[in-house]
């Protein structure tokens, strides 16, 4: 960048000078670099295009600094052609060199797609089917791998299973307890208000017992775990895809279904029923506290009438749901994790889709359970 070392750097200016012979000269002075232009670009662009008329002389010999940004600004004013009469300051011509090559400014525009909407709908449906097929495939692979594992149980990924169990199970106890407690209290409070009105105070045990043990406990816990562990599983596998760790496992001959996916599925299938037991228990405690407060049913009598009001089969049903929900969440999360493309945006989309899908899958599965076990364990005694 040529510059007089003594003269202070001046702002870029456009001067129009009418010579004695009537010819017009446009003189540019000051610094035409990004630092100076940043704030003045629009203004100067206007001034330049006003000054740019056919046949004017351009004098750039008093330009103090120049860079490509400044050069481009001037080049555009010249309508992308060098004017015939032109003087440069030493050393700034180099910035115009690249422009003389043809093609600067050639815009590549893709034509508007008329069928975009139809195309999008179709693509979405196909993608949905593709995901379903992928998940079935993954499940199949995991089942085949676990068959092999059954034959040689010593080679199983027990360490990974235990680590996952701790992460998805033990570490989730705090948040599930808090949510369970609050749900129990709120549900009990609202129900007691209604029951008081009809004088059926004792039914609070049935409502809370059936509601929490059979339905709310499993679903609420599954939703929490899907949000908490599902997203982390997807993100973890996704990052491993981005950093090529998955490929590194494959080339070592370690199938990632055994090392990564199977442990997660097993761990969640074990941890979720236990978490459901824990959450339902806490929710019932919360419910009984609110009931003793609202209806005067003591905690002792609440807990002792619970086994009578709620058949034990409901507990097993809740735990069974837990096993299925856990496996479904892990499977969905792993599926989306493996589908992550090696870029950051795909990682974000994959994680979101994973959580949304696993919650949806859990609720669909819950509905199926409700239909299948419609006559089990809810007859009033």
């Amino acid at each position: 960048m040529p510059q007089a070392p003594t003269a202070p750097v001046q702002h870029p200016e456009v001067h129009e000078i009418r010579g004695a012979d009537g010819a017009c000269t446009v003189e540019l002075t000051g610094a035409w670099d990004i630092r100076a232009l940043e704030a003045r670009a629009r203004n100067l662009q206007l001034r330049l295009s006003e000054a740019a008329r056919a046949g004017v002389r351009w004098d750039l010999s008093r330009v103090q600094r120049m860079d490509h940004i400044g050069a481009l600004l001037i080049w555009r004013a010249w309508a992308r052609r060098r004017p015939t009469q032109l003087a440069f300051a030493p050393g700034i011509e180099v910035f115009f060199d690249k422009f003389d090559a043809p093609g600067v400014g050639a815009q590549a525009q893709s034509a508007a797609d008329m069928l975009a909407l139809v195309r999008m709908l179709g693509a979405r449906m196909l993608r949905g089917l593709d995901h379903a097929a992928g998940m079935v495939q993954l499940l199949g692979q995991v089942l085949i791998d676990s068959m092999a594992l059954l034959r040689r149980p010593a080679r199983g990924p027990w360490r990974e299973i235990s680590a996952n169990l701790y992460r998805v199970g033990a570490q989730a106890m705090g948040v599930t307890a808090l949510v369970g407690m609050l749900i129990g209290i709120v549900l009990s409070y609202l129900s007691s208000e209604q029951l008081k009105a009809v004088g059926a105070n004792a039914l609070i045990v049935n409502i809370l017992g059936i509601g929490i043990i059979r339905e709310l406990g499993p679903v609420i816990t599954a939703v929490l775990v899907a949000g908490r562990s599902g997203s982390s599983i997807t993100a973890q596998l996704g990052v491993m895809r981005v950093t090529e760790e998955l490929d590194a496992l494959s080339v070592m001959g370690i199938p990632h279904t055994v090392r990564l996916i199977l442990p997660k599925i097993i761990a969640l299938a074990i941890a979720l029923p236990l978490l459901i037991l824990w959450t339902s228990g806490i929710a019932l405690v919360g419910g009984s506290i609110a009931a003793s407060h609202e209806l005067g049913i003591s905690m002792h009598s609440f807990l002792s009438s619970l086994p009578v009001a709620v058949p034990t089969i409901n507990l097993w049903l809740g735990l069974g749901k837990g096993v299925v929900f856990g496996a479904l969440i892990a499977l969905t999360a792993c599926h989306y994790g493996l589908r992550v493309q090696p870029n950051t945006e795909s990682l974000g989309i994959g994680t979101t889709n994973s959580v949304v899908t696993s919650i949806t899958v859990v609720i669909i599965a819950d509905a199926i359970f409700a239909v299948m076990f419609a006559d089990v364990g809810i007859s009033l005694q």
Partner: protein, 262 residues
């Protein structure tokens, strides 16, 4: 004239492990300075401190005469528009196309319209010898060499005065790394850049640098021309420059450098 970069009395510590101990380094305008040193000698850390990405335990780093570590965010923002960085892996934004990657810093200025940005991006692609047809590809579809070139185009987008290159030729085949070195050389003369290079590659080092700073023993043990650097009797220097590979790279530069092996 104020030096472009001034590092004074810099200490870096990770726990008990001291990486830099009272390190000093000054880079003048227009110089190409290479930082070399063994693994763990803190080359990359030093560069990150020059970029203000990491805070030294003690000492100061001044860039363009402005202290990096106790300036307000407005001043820092101004400094950051005056330098460009080529990260080792390119660090292209993987969610954006090549075009958007290069256009991002220009758009961020909010001073130029889309048409102008388009012309500028195409110009930068020309400068780094990338065909314009690649502009709408995603970074994941590109080869390593192209990623480096495009990352360089992005680093040059704001016409920086100072440019940092972290292992510019690592991961490129010899042919590509040579053309990349040539590219940097030509741009450097054309744009009058000050360049800081962190490298392991002797060929890059020999062909690009005006000055070499050798980091060892938690400080800069030599800072001078290649000739000065290789005359120092330090185990790292002897291993690095006067090993078999080093001699081969040095002999390629020709007679101008006299080796005094003993």
């Amino acid at each position: 004239m104020t030096p472009i970069i001034e590092v004074e009395g810099l200490w870096t510590q990770f726990g008990d492990h001291v990486v830099h101990k009272d390190l000093n380094l000054t880079v003048q305008a227009g110089e190409v300075v290479s930082l070399v040193g063994g693994s763990g000698s803190g080359k990359t850390t030093l560069m990150r401190q020059m970029l203000g990405l990491e805070q030294p335990a003690r000492g100061s780093v001044r860039v363009f005469g402005i202290p990096l570590h106790d300036s307000d965010s407005g001043t820092l923002k101004k400094i950051r528009k005056r330098w460009g960085v080529l990260f080792q892996g390119g660090a292209l934004y993987s969610a954006l196309s090549v075009y958007d990657n290069i256009a991002l810093p220009l758009r961020e200025l909010r001073a130029f319209d889309d048409d102008f940005v388009h012309d500028m991006v195409m110009l930068k692609l020309d400068m780094v010898d990338i065909e314009r047809s690649h502009a709408h590809k995603m970074p994941s579809d590109l080869s390593g060499g192209m990623v480096k070139r495009i990352a360089l185009a992005r680093a040059l987008a704001l016409e920086p005065e100072l440019i940092f290159l972290d292992e510019p030729t690592a991961g490129l085949d010899p042919d590509r790394s040579e053309s990349f070195v040539k590219l940097i050389q030509s741009l450097r003369h054309k744009l009058n850049l000050t360049v800081i290079i962190v490298t392991h590659d002797l060929d890059t080092l020999v062909s690009l640098s005006d000055k070499i700073a050798v980091l060892a023993d938690q400080r800069v043990i030599v800072y001078g021309s290649l000739q000065e650097a290789i005359t120092v009797k330090h185990p790292f220097v002897i291993n690095f420059f006067l090993g078999e590979r080093g001699l081969r790279a040095l002999s390629a530069v020709g007679e101008s450098i006299k080796l005094n092996q003993t």
